[in-house]
């Protein structure tokens, strides 16, 4: 073999090998776990951080929600109506079905309460509420105790309005234990076993308002469901079986209400309502079946 072809072979083979070698050594350095890192410190409180603070959530400053305390209160009375034919929903658990604790849970059929429409088209379990407490609102007086019961493996009531700090007694009218699990967002989790025939009730107190109604479930009986609206003011209501509701002693002014139903989500994000002092302000809202997309 002559010299030039040896040189060729050396180049052809040696050069790539050399370059590969370089690359591999290069690839090993830098980056990843051993990359140079810096740490900057961020102060703990708002002021040192250079932020002019305003509290978030609750205590709304929007002039649109508030009315002056000088104006007297009025009531908001109304009704939610379904425009269209109510769906016929089959029960979640048929009577006599073989489910866990059938002697309580299948003693009666467990109705599907996703959309309860009364005679005359009234929609039950619709929440109407103010997103934030109105300007100048101060909590006064003691809050009554509410009862949240479980009978025949169904929550009663299906929709409950709860104020922050109000005690809800979770009771059990069935012989079998239930495990009440609240799907909280802002609050601390509540996941408690309520023993059979507990008539004293396990206390449930919410410390914060929730941004939307939260669901109550039972870990033992998966079909059970109900909703709590947790707010930090009393200006909310849940419509009854006939679709009617009433919110008492609303300071006069213009408000933006939210209307929520479990099978629709937010029906209204900011429903403008004018409340006049000293009278029952009427509100009639009608929704077509199409709005209830989550059925």
């Amino acid at each position: 073999m002559n010299n030039s072809s040896t040189k060729q072979i050396v180049l052809l083979v040696g050069l790539p090998v050399f370059v590969i070698g370089l690359c591999l050594t290069g690839a090993g350095c830098g980056g990843g776990a051993n990359a140079v890192t810096t740490v900057t410190l961020k102060p703990a409180d708002l002021e040192s951080d250079g932020v002019e603070g305003a509290t978030v959530g609750g205590g709304g400053d929007k002039p649109k929600t508030g009315g002056g305390p000088a104006a007297g209160p009025g009531n908001l009375v109304g009704r939610f109506v379904l425009d269209g034919v109510a769906p016929n929903l089959s029960p979640l658990v048929a009577k006599g079905a073989t489910v866990k604790d059938a002697e309580y849970c299948a003693a009666e059929a467990v109705p599907n309460q996703s959309l309860v429409v009364g005679d005359g088209g009234g929609i039950a379990n619709v929440f109407i509420y103010l997103d934030k407490a109105p300007k100048g609102y101060k909590a006064e007086g003691e809050l009554s105790e509410l009862v949240f019961d479980q009978k025949n493996c169904t929550f009663e009531p299906h929709g409950l309005v709860v104020q922050v700090g109000q005690t809800v007694l979770v009771k059990n009218a069935d012989g079998a234990a239930h495990n009440t699990n609240m799907k909280v967002i802002r609050n601390k989790s509540f996941n408690q076993v309520v023993n059979g025939n507990d008539r004293t009730g396990v206390p449930l107190i919410y410390e914060k308002a929730e941004p939307a109604p939260i669901k109550a479930t039972c870990d033992f009986h998966a079909w059970m469901g109900a909703y709590h609206l947790v707010i930090d003011h009393p200006y909310a209501a849940c419509s009854k079986a006939d679709g009617t509701f009433e919110i008492k002693k609303l300071p006069a002014g213009e408000y933006k209400f939210r209307v929520w139903h479990e099978s629709a989500g937010l029906l209204e994000r900011s429903l403008k309502v004018k409340v006049e002092a000293g009278k029952d302000n009427k509100l009639e809202q009608s929704y077509s079946i199409g709005s209830f997309s989550k059925l």
Binding site: Q8, P16, T38, L41, V56, G57, Q192, V193
Partner: protein
């Protein structure tokens, strides 16, 4: 052109591609993952969220230690003392915090008693006072005069009582380096449980970003403690791909635990901010376009968006405070689950009582014989988030992964196999995987069940037949049917898995 020439050119080109492809000089940049929900937000708000997150936590290479968080970032806090010296000067009398004093000595003092701060000095960050927010480099310390010497000279000496942190962030940096080395490939850069190897694993690695962990010793509503996290890292989780890192020393373990907590806080903060912005304010692209279609005033909507953006730092601080509080509360004595009575002695009677409790509460998921094949594994469950049924029957955890109830005949206890660990699983439940808690059950019954569960892998055929019969008969007497067929299983041909040697329990 000759063949040789062509080959030469080809090889030169190949080498060129090789160098380019090797990426030898630009390693891939690690980035924190942005949540899906953040991406759903309208762009101004989403940008504000990401900006605030970066300002509060940084990027994987440029970390931010947010002093609000109950994370041990490392560093030695101290304060200046009354100084007689006049400026310009670079020597300040200082005193280190009582607990940190030992750290200072051990980190910087050399064998002959002098202090070494490294070639380029050690960073000092002023927290309060004249120089708050600035950093300097410490190059010397005199233990007699307690004078700290910095590289920079200042005109005005810091006042007495000005606080600082020396060598801040060291723990966070080392935690990060260790995490990237040991944990990242499964748990991902942001602790989202989706690293490169995660796709091959079942169960999936933990996603820290919901702030919930399965195997903790605290009450159901509380967060996990540093000890629990340390245990998991040290001893692994048998039956999963989480290995034991026993060979790490205590300091390294502590750094990793702190970094994991930091990632968890970061992830949960983003999660909560998203929840607020979506559920409370409705600032997603979808909702906004719906509102515009419904006829809402665009200017009003823009005002809401602007307000949310302006309010972002405050929201972060508030939520940060809440999270900090919950993590601190987890370390509190009162959060720990401590059995009210010592373990009830293991006896057949105790196990029989445990068996009855098991039949009452546990068979739905864990099955009649504890094989993890209860009826709930065959039903279609509802996804609480979407309201739809899951595509597959069986149970799902909060991260959306399908899970199976434990097969107790294997004698494999993921959260630890001490009696107190089992007690804690019953008392506290396992929130993320939907195992209910039995905090209201009396401790005697819980211990009976612990005794029973320990014995399941060693059960002999027919051992509990009488107990089962008693239970079902008492149920019938009370009236009504029960789910389980009510027939006592007297078949003895069912093999107990403890006997099958090829399938050794207890070691998986």
């Amino acid at each position: 052109m000759s063949i040789r020439r062509k080959l030469n050119i080809l090889f030169v080109l190949a080498c060129g591609f090789l160098i380019a492809g090797c990426d030898a000089f630009s390693p891939p940049d690690a980035k924190f993952v942005v949540r899906e929900e953040t991406n759903k937000l309208t762009s101004d708000v989403a940008t504000a969220v990401e900006k605030e997150l970066e300002g509060s936590f940084g990027t994987p290479h440029q970390l931010v230690a947010w002093l609000k968080l109950p994370v041990d970032f490392g560093g030695i806090p101290g304060a200046t003392e009354e100084s007689q010296l006049e400026g310009p000067l670079n020597k300040f009398p200082v005193k280190f915090d009582a607990e940190a004093d030992g750290d200072f000595i051990s980190q910087f003092q050399t064998e002959n008693g002098s202090f070494d701060f490294g070639v380029s000095g050690t960073r000092l960050d002023w927290m309060t006072g004249e120089y708050s927010g600035k950093s300097m480099q410490v190059i010397g310390y005199d233990s007699e005069t307690q004078l700290l010497t910095t590289k920079e000279k200042v005109e005005v000496p810091p006042a007495a009582g000005d606080t600082f942190i020396l060598s801040a962030g060291g723990n966070l940096k080392s935690g990060r380096a260790l995490y990237m080395e040991h944990c990242l490939h499964c748990h991902g850069v942001s602790g989202e449980g989706n690293g490169p190897t995660a796709q091959y694993l079942n169960p999936r690695p933990r996603d820290y970003r919901l702030g919930q962990f399965k195997f903790k010793s605290t009450k159901p509503a509380e967060k996990i403690t540093q000890d629990d996290l340390g245990r998991v890292i040290k001893y692994g989780i048998p039956g999963t791909y989480m290995p034991s890192f026993l060979l790490l020393d205590d300091e390294e373990l502590h750094s990793i635990v702190e970094y994991v907590r930091w990632l968890s806080i970061r992830g949960e903060l983003e999660y909560r901010v998203d929840q607020e912005l979506i559920l409370a304010s409705g600032l997603t692209n979808e909702i906004i376009s719906e509102r515009k279609a419904d006829g809402d005033d665009a200017a009003e909507i823009q005002e809401e968006v602007d307000e949310a953006v302006a309010n972002m730092p405050t929201m972060f601080h508030d939520l940060g405070d809440q999270l900090a509080e919950s993590w601190v509360l987890a370390e509190d004595e009162g959060s720990l689950i401590v059995p009210a009575i010592p373990r009830v002695e293991d006896s057949f009677e105790s196990r029989a009582r445990g068996r009855k409790f098991f039949l009452e509460k546990c068979t739905n998921c864990h099955g009649h014989k504890g094989r993890g094949n209860g009826t709930m594994t065959e039903d279609f469950q509802k996804n609480e988030e979407t309201g739809e049924l899951y595509a597959e029957p069986g149970l799902f955890d909060i991260w959306g992964n399908p899970i199976k109830p434990r097969n107790l005949t294997k004698g494999l206890y993921r959260g630890g196999r001490r009696p107190v660990d089992l007690y804690r699983r019953f008392y506290g439940g396992i929130g993320p995987s939907k195992m209910p808690n039995f905090a209201t059950t009396d401790p005697q019954t819980l211990w009976d069940t612990v005794n029973y569960v320990y014995h399941i892998p060693f059960e002999k055929p027919g051992e509990y037949t009488e107990v089962d019969r008693e239970y079902f008969e008492s149920k019938k007497a009370a009236g009504g049917e029960t789910t389980t067929t009510g027939e006592v299983d007297e078949s003895s041909e069912e093999k107990q898995t403890a006997i099958d040697s090829a399938d050794s329990p207890n070691q998986k």
